[in-house]
Symmetry: C2
Subunit: 464 residues, 2 copies
């Protein structure tokens, strides 16, 4: 008995020493015992990492999110940010009369992809990360990131970047006006350049051009209408070509063939077959519609001419001394993952989502004579190596009944659906844009409301 | 002997079991053994955290940095980004003839503070972090962050924010032009507003106003000169007041007393005593000169009038649909730490650095008759509760010898020092601005070169 006690005493003592040794090794070498993927011990970074995981673990019933910068309640708990139509502390309550909001182009449909690739898409930013205005080898631009942007285009085959210049901007938004500035300042006449886009077009072209009220350029509306009334001989023109087009998804081409800004925000394989790499003088892209990170505010322009490139770059510099280094660091992390497997995991996921949504959408609209959506034409996609239908980001809905001239009002009043009116795209209000790239919750509610609306056509009672 | 072997055998066996139990607990409960602050087990966030620590551990001889987005060499190793004048794989080689570059206002003097507070200043951004264009409760602006900005002003006592609106911008840069736009569009006449600033002034005011070439405003140069030649009765004026002034650190006041933009980039306790909270209609601040994070590109405006606020906010929206959510998240993390201890740790660190640099600088210039620097006047600082000398971000150097009209050239040719010419601030080239807020390496080299230059005055040979 005495021996046994002694034995156990010895065991506990020595085990304790062993454990202490392990603790000590851990403490001094920063080593980590068990668990985790890297095996590297963490010190200063652990708190931020643990906080990110803690907030990510809060479910919000699947109808909301908590982020590391979400607000906290009086007890110090992070507050769920509920998706549209969901309320309550844990976002579990649905509001049954809530409208289906298909207004904005918020690309949340890609959120699940990034959740599935959590490990390789996270980035830890230290307190002293890139405090300087400039990079080591470049004033405002991460060269590493530029390499990945070129690689992405090369993989997808949607744009020629060899021998071209690349400029970054705050989303594509800032680059659109920077491009107008650059092209209009090449104007040899003393008159302002005429800025044009063909109807229906993304309203930002007009909003910016009018808002900044420069002596260098003025917005002149629809390209086709303008062409009928003007000879281009003595007039300087800058033409916006959106391809695929926002709102209708059409692969547009320049009408005037002069100075053009190709807005290629949606020229990615989940929205359109990629028939060939775009080879235009000035092409604008945005991360928002590639990876779904609208909130990051990152876009880039691919530019052929050195003088135009320098003017666009100068615009960004004068506007805000370049763009956030944190943004560039994060975009690099995201693109590194996005190009993995030659982009197949990302684009397969994204295309699958979009084509599924289009299948369901066309099924509903096929039962309607009151509403129609844009025709889609199959094209050979060089990225997926097969002929496919496009699956645009938006449905461009038309009210077919002659008396229903305000289609946005019809959808809202008869269907409790919020769309974006045709007139916002300088088209007729008989048209309305419905966003198909929001969250799954948003899409499900939209489908439910559309189904109900279309089913009314064959019933005897309509709400209007 | 046999007993001893048996004893040790028992020990190893049981120790091994104990260790296995510990491993198992770690694996199943996600617990962590020893080390670290949180004790929470990490999964998807660990790789990013480990990578951040790994790059932070690369020393670059103390004369460079590696970041998580630094480029990699052919062997996959991150490449040191060396500070000015240092080269080599580990930045260990100094280039003896390298000029002391005191040109830019890169606020790297605060980098050590953030390294000392690594744990609480880090942020881990997940791949799905804030993908949306908007916040839950606000279109483009983090409300959480706004609370901390107000708290910071309240702690420091440098600006009244109660009942004022706050707008964010890409650095203060973007807000400067947004403010010009907002104030000039309140112009009742059909003529463009006259934009003025008093010499010497930060060149960005002129650069932006000229560059954007709006029909709403035009740059008219020095406020004092303009006042002599014009009656303000019939003319709309927007006056920039930079306080403390860039380049000379003076606490300026409006000359015309009309519509003004107060650029308070440097109105923080490390650069100037804070005599009272600023209470002007439109005040612009930037993170760059508060925490040293120039690369983050974040600024804010504090605005009294609702109409002006809405116009500034509209400008930011039209320019780029708001600013990066990642930027806002990071700034929140930084400000949370910055306000700890009522801001005393940050501002004590920063003031100590700046006052030390000024002590050494004045000691050198006191021995010179060839060069002089601006006079500094003591003021009572309500933040530090004592009378102090200002310690401006820049030395505003004057060449006193009549023939030395180009002081920038004198410093470069006789002293191998790069400054920013007076003419860039619309002043005489007899003046030159030297930056005192760069890294310690930069400052040490500047001091060495200045000391040598001044010592030449008493010697028989000068290089010019």
């Amino acid at each position: 008995m005495g021996k046994t006690i002694k034995y156990w005493y010895g065991f506990f003592l020595l085990s304790s020493i062993a454990i202490n040794i392990l603790f000590t090794i851990n403490l001094y070498l920063g080593g980590r015992i068990g668990g985790g993927s890297g095996g590297a011990g963490l010190s200063w970074s652990e708190k931020a990492a643990a906080e990110a995981e803690a907030v990510a673990a809060i479910s919000c019933s699947g109808h909301g999110r908590v982020y590391v910068d979400s607000s906290v309640d009086s007890e110090g708990q992070r507050v769920c940010e509920c998706y549209d139509c969901y309320t309550g502390i844990d976002c579990s309550q649905i509001s049954p009369t809530c409208p289906a909001d298909a207004n904005s182009g918020d690309p949340i449909f890609l959120e699940p992809f990034w959740m599935q690739h959590a490990t390789n898409s996270a980035i830890l930013i230290s307190g002293w990360h890139r405090m300087s205005y400039s990079y080591d080898d470049n004033w405002f631009k991460s060269t590493q990131l530029e390499n990945y942007i070129r690689k992405m285009h090369s993989i997808v085959g949607n744009a020629i970047t060899e021998g071209r210049y690349i400029v970054y901007g705050i989303g594509s938004s800032q680059l659109l006006n920077a491009a107008v500035y650059a092209l209009s300042s090449q104007n040899s006449s003393s008159l302002p350049s005429n800025v044009l886009a063909s109807v229906p077009f993304y309203q930002m072209y007009k909003t910016q051009t009018v808002f900044f009220n420069s002596e260098n350029f003025q917005f002149k509306g629809d390209t086709n209408a303008w062409q009928l009334n003007n000879s281009t001989n003595n007039m300087d023109v800058v033409e916006f070509v959106t391809s695929p087009n926002n709102p209708d998804g059409e692969l547009k081409k320049s009408i005037l063939g002069g100075k053009t800004i190709y807005d290629h925000a949606y020229y990615w394989p989940h929205f359109t077959p990629i028939p060939a790499p775009s080879d235009h003088d000035l092409m604008v892209f945005t991360l928002s519609k590639l990876t779904g990170h609208a909130g990051v505010r990152f876009g880039w322009a691919v530019i052929k001419d050195k003088d135009v490139y320098e003017k666009v770059a100068k615009y960004i510099e004068v506007a805000d001394l370049g763009i956030s280094k944190d943004t560039q660091s994060r975009v690099l992390t995201l693109l590194k993952l996005a190009v993995e497997g030659d982009g197949k995991p990302l684009f397969k996921f994204a295309y699958s989502k979009m084509s599924d949504r289009w299948d369901r959408l066309t099924s509903v609209f096929s039962k309607s004579t009151r509403f129609s959506i844009q025709k889609r034409h199959p094209l050979y996609c060089n990225f997926f190596n097969e002929t496919r239908l496009p699956s645009p980001a938006y449905a461009w809905v038309k009210c077919e009944r002659e008396e229903e001239e305000d289609c946005t009002a019809v959808l809202l009043e008869a269907g409790n659906i919020i769309g974006r009116a045709g007139s916002i795209f300088s088209a007729k209000d008989r048209y309305v844009r419905l966003s198909l790239i929001k969250s799954q919750d948003d899409f499900e509610l939209l489908m439910q409301r559309l189904t109900e609306l279309v089913s009314l056509e064959n019933g005897s009672i309509e709400t209007m």
